[in-house]
Symmetry: D2
Subunit: 158 residues, 4 copies
């Protein structure tokens, strides 16, 4: 087993005598900065009942080490844009996440223009489900497809 490879894959410093990790700019960031960090640069192209369409030019900060959009960012965008459909459909809340599932189909490289379309598949008193598709803007080729289910009756207990 290659512990250094494990450490490198987890962005940990293989050499603990180095002080680099304690000086990470990540440590300095404000509370709940995550959404702002991921969503900065996202544009809303359409927001209507049951549908939200956004677009994004893949920013360098959200790429993985292979220079394409990080799987975790795609999951985050599926969560956030999928949740926005509840607001665009007139609901006062988007609830809390129950399940998310994503198929990764193609890579979106730095500076590529992509679009993200979220649709409301169903909504009831307690549970709502959205589908979210990521596509390359110039070819329409699908980058990822996700489904997200949310619990909406948040005031009562899950």
């Amino acid at each position: 087993m290659d512990l250094d490879a494990v450490k490198r894959s987890l962005e940990l410093d293989p050499d603990p005598s180095s002080s680099s990790s304690s000086s990470s700019p990540a440590a300095e960031l404000p509370p709940s900065f995550y959404d702002a960090f991921v969503l900065h640069g996202l544009r809303i192209d359409a927001a209507e009942p049951r549908r939200v369409l956004c677009s994004l030019s893949v920013p360098p900060r959200l790429a993985n080490s292979e220079s394409y959009l990080h799987s975790g960012v795609i999951a985050t965008l599926a969560d956030v844009v999928g949740s926005a459909v509840f607001y665009s459909s007139g609901f006062p809340t988007s609830g809390v996440s129950l399940e998310i599932s994503i198929s990764y189909l193609d890579a979106a490289f730095i500076n590529e223009e992509i679009e993200i379309e979220a649709k409301l598949l169903r909504v009831g008193k307690a549970v709502g489900v959205t589908s979210i598709e990521f596509r390359k803007k110039n070819t329409g080729k699908i980058i990822a497809q996700a489904r997200h289910s949310k619990y909406l009756a948040v005031s009562s207990k899950l």
Copy 2:
């Protein structure tokens, strides 16, 4: 439909005359900063063949607006810690993501101690699958459970 609610949910400035979004600190961050941003503070407690155990005190920067660990961060940690199991099992690569699915079961609040355990469910020449469980450290209560499948023969075409 409440367009401002959609915009707020996507962290966009409801008042476009304001210049706040262009001055976001997110715009200033270095390429591929995302992994470092999420993983800072993660500790490896065990790394052995077929298993990696990490722990984390939920940092404020990764919380959502409700003050608990963001669903998108959980997806990212499932991706990254799940991938680390391939390295801890002696594989030279962790491949590319095919599928991720996550059930969200409980909230992990700011400063809560959690542990993340990834296990290798199967690995072949082409496809590997991991399971990843997020638990509260003091009670063992499950926060989320994920599965992640990866394509390993990356040099050849998917």
Copy 3:
């Protein structure tokens, strides 16, 4: 704990002295009968590259005890109709299942007319992914949405 309720839910005879289970017609059925059992009555409405459309009048034999189409049958149809898209797209095989995920959105009752549309989302040398949607024929309302990923290079080892 109500063991009889568990047994009943698993279709086991709560009274083991009864001989009914050994005389079940299920025990008499021929090898690999399952596909024939589920698919009998399915009609192909369209089969073209990247798309297959089928329809079905929900038969009583495939209903659950609540008189609507069994979740397990929907999973089976997602598997089989999703796999048929590889043939309709000219591929010599549909490979083996890697992952299936399904959101159940509405009930399809006995004798309801439903349609099942499978689309090819991606196909490569090794992995193919389809989406499968189940809809009520008269209203278009979505009953279930699934994704199915398959390993196609079956001759080589997974």
Copy 4:
């Protein structure tokens, strides 16, 4: 495109002049026969709060054309054994299916002894989630791993 291959994959008669499909034994089976058809032969080895363990010798009737347990049957068993955990945990109902996701990891051939273990991951007033693992009995090797989420407050509207 090979329409006959599509038809064959869907168990339809490529030659419509043949009368075989109309005489299928499937057409004669009683209402709601599906559960009995799949579950016949399943044994309960343990049923306790939060856990049910079953075993099964893979019967020929549930194999696919490659002589191993059909993916759709695994989905059905995940649904049904997962649901049984609610009864073994003392709940009066197992609700309705919201989501199921399954990773297929290995084949279970005809006459192989397998075990199916379902665990309750969480349960609340409205939503319950189970995990279900399929293993080979003699080696413990995992055949499939699933998660199943259910809506429990069925009397009220979803």
